[in-house]
């Protein structure tokens, strides 16, 4: 059986900036693939290719074994590839429920919006994720970062995503809220979705990931299954091993603050 999505030898440049070079990745149903990398490694660029926002300059992109060249995120969505962006793709001044259904509004006769049903569904879907909103009519910009992230993910799942692409969903969250999101990722996997999970943070990636792709300056630094890598190895890879040792040595005299969340 072919993977839900597969990229092979993908490259992308912005003008003379090479953002990605020769990256391959495959996601099966019920699998979480974590993409890790430092700032500017090309993670968001990779996501934008998967979600149909950009076309790759090199390499191939297949969905269920079929080559695709998406012209817009809508086309990717229609193939069941839903993306939750780092900046969340929400419209801050619009109510939560309008954001939830934006681009896929429910309608009744004469093109009227089915507002009651959309409000109800939004509240129920979020409650199902353990998020109890005060008011689905409040502007989404007034929610906390974690709440907003969960609205965005719940929206993708609700609209029948088969592949869920999450761009740093835990980056801005506190420990507890990150836990909520990670649990939700695990739940999505259990439902048979394929997940591409982008993060800086190996501690967030390791518990939920089945496969780890580490990017550095647009290239693949490592691509391992979970049983072929330990959490410490992953952390070391992320930080660039030697660089981390150097840093440890450098900081050993001054007392360190490295316990902080890497988000």
């Amino acid at each position: 059986m072919s993977a839900l999505i597969g990229l092979a030898g993908v490259g992308k440049h912005y003008g003379n900036v090479i953002a990605l070079r020769d990256v391959s990745l495959a996601v099966d149903a019920g699998q979480v693939v974590c993409v890790l990398g430092d700032n500017g490694a090309g993670k968001s660029t990779l996501i934008k290719i998967i979600s149909g926002l950009h076309r790759p300059d090199a390499g191939t992109y297949e969905v269920a074994g079929e080559p695709v060249a998406f012209g817009s995120p809508r086309e990717a969505l229609d193939r069941g590839i839903a993306t939750v962006y780092q900046d969340l793709a929400v419209v801050p001044l619009m109510p939560v429920w309008r954001n939830f259904f934006l681009g896929a509004e429910l309608r009744r006769s004469f093109g009227r919006l089915d507002i009651a049903a959309m409000r109800r569904t939004t509240r129920d879907e979020l409650a199902g994720m353990g998020i109890d909103l005060r008011d689905v009519d409040q502007p989404i910009g007034t929610l906390s970062g974690g709440e907003r992230q969960c609205v965005a993910i719940a929206r993708a799942v609700h609209f029948g995503a088969r592949v869920l692409v999450l761009d740093e969903p835990t980056a801005a969250l506190g420990v507890k809220q990150a836990g909520v999101v990670l649990r939700y990722v695990a739940r999505a996997r259990a439902r048979g979705l394929g997940v591409v999970f982008i993060t800086h943070n190996p501690h967030h990636a390791y518990p939920v990931g089945d496969r780890f792709l580490v990017l550095k300056r647009g290239r693949v630094l490592a691509d391992r299954a979970k049983d072929a890598i330990t959490r410490d190895e992953l952390t070391a890879l992320m930080a660039g091993g030697a660089e981390l040792d150097e840093l440890a040595a450098e900081l050993s005299g001054t007392g360190t603050g490295t316990g902080a969340d890497a988000g």
Binding site: L77, D87, D137
Partner: protein, 350 residues
């Protein structure tokens, strides 16, 4: 909202629920500041100008408000969608000229001119939108360019065709009477003549409000104005929505153009310049956010009403009308500041 009353069924953690009071909901309306301003202004002019209080004067105020208000509908929607149209003022004249020149020069029924004008004006709106979408330039620049081009073409074409700066009168052409009754008649209500444009204005506002709040394109208008990238990412056809909004302004311009043509039977080709700012002012006073994503058609209408009251109120109060623009500018400042305060308060106390 349905269901909020069944508190026991809700899980714990809901002490945060604190229902939004009706007052707070009202405060959340974009047009609230404008409404207060309109009431204050109305009371003010009623107090200082005896003439302002007469029914006939009120009808005059409404007429002035309606001609700007019809345009403010399209301009407000466009502003909520995040864009400007500086060509809106001269486009009204272009629209009227097209209808006048086509019917007169080709000796057609004026309705043929009306139809051609509709097609041409919508095409101009489409062009504005297409230029904006394709070039990625700010709409301010794109429509500034079309503003100058239309202003020049209005004069140039009219002079070339008629040898004059005005179009020839279409008063005696076939269909004039029926067109006039639709676009430029007045209705007697209790002894007061109310221009038909007032009713058209209300209809435009009602349709626009329904569109904005109750339909999918309305949702898209808020979204493309509030966060175009986010909207695109979830599958909203951003380019199509923006183009449609420019065409909405064009539709309003066509309507007002027809009103002017069938009121005066002839069109001065230099008219309309500068009005685009008045339309924008109506929208902004009415609570539409200059940066897009927030506002209402009703707000634009209240803005137009404030505009009409000030415009005529100064005359009835027998002040020097030269000061009209000064007042307008001052009101713009006050209104935007007020809107900002209201919105911040609501956002903070959610």
């Amino acid at each position: 909202m349905a269901g909020t009353a069944t508190a026991p069924a809700r899980p714990p953690g809901d002490e945060r629920l604190g229902r939004r009071s009706p007052l707070r909901r009202l405060l959340g309306r974009p047009e609230l500041g404008a409404l207060i301003g309109a009431i204050v202004l109305f009371a003010f002019f009623s107090a200082v100008a005896d003439a302002f209080r007469q029914a006939g004067s009120f009808s005059t105020v409404l007429y002035a408000s309606s001609t700007f208000g019809i345009m403010a509908v399209g301009v407000s929607l466009l502003m909520i969608g995040g864009e400007f149209d500086l060509s809106a003022g001269v486009m009204v004249t272009t629209s009227a000229l097209v209808a006048a020149l086509v019917s007169y020069q080709l000796t057609l029924n004026v309705w043929a001119g009306v139809a051609v004008s509709l097609a041409v004006t919508l095409a101009l709106g489409f062009l504005n939108g297409l230029l904006y979408v394709r070039t990625g330039l700010p709409s301010f620049i794109v429509t500034l360019a079309t503003f100058f081009m239309l202003a020049g073409a209005n004069l140039g074409v009219t002079k070339a065709v008629t040898g004059n700066v005005a179009s020839d009168s279409v008063r005696d052409m076939d269909g004039f009477a029926s067109a006039r009754s639709l676009f430029a008649s007045s209705v007697d209500i209790g002894g007061v003549n109310v221009s038909v444009t007032v009713f058209w204005w209300l209809a435009f506002v009602a349709v626009a409000t329904w569109l904005l709040l109750r339909t999918r394109p309305g949702n898209w208008i808020f979204a493309v104005g509030g966060a175009a990238d986010a909207a695109r990412a979830v599958g909203v056809p951003v380019a199509r929505t923006k183009i449609a909004l420019f065409m909405g302004v064009a539709l309003c311009a066509w309507f007002l153009g027809m009103h002017l043509l069938f009121s005066y039977a002839t069109v001065q080709s230099g008219e309309g310049v500068g009005n685009e700012f008045y339309y924008i002012i109506c929208a902004v006073i009415g609570g539409c956010l200059l940066t897009g994503g927030y506002g209402s058609a009703v707000g634009g209408a209240i803005g137009a009403f404030i505009f009409g009251m000030t415009n005529k109120g100064i005359v009835y109060a027998e002040w020097n009308p030269d000061w009209f623009r000064f007042f307008l500018g001052a009101m713009l400042l006050v209104a935007t500041a007020l809107n900002l305060v209201v919105r911040r308060r609501v956002e903070r106390s959610g």
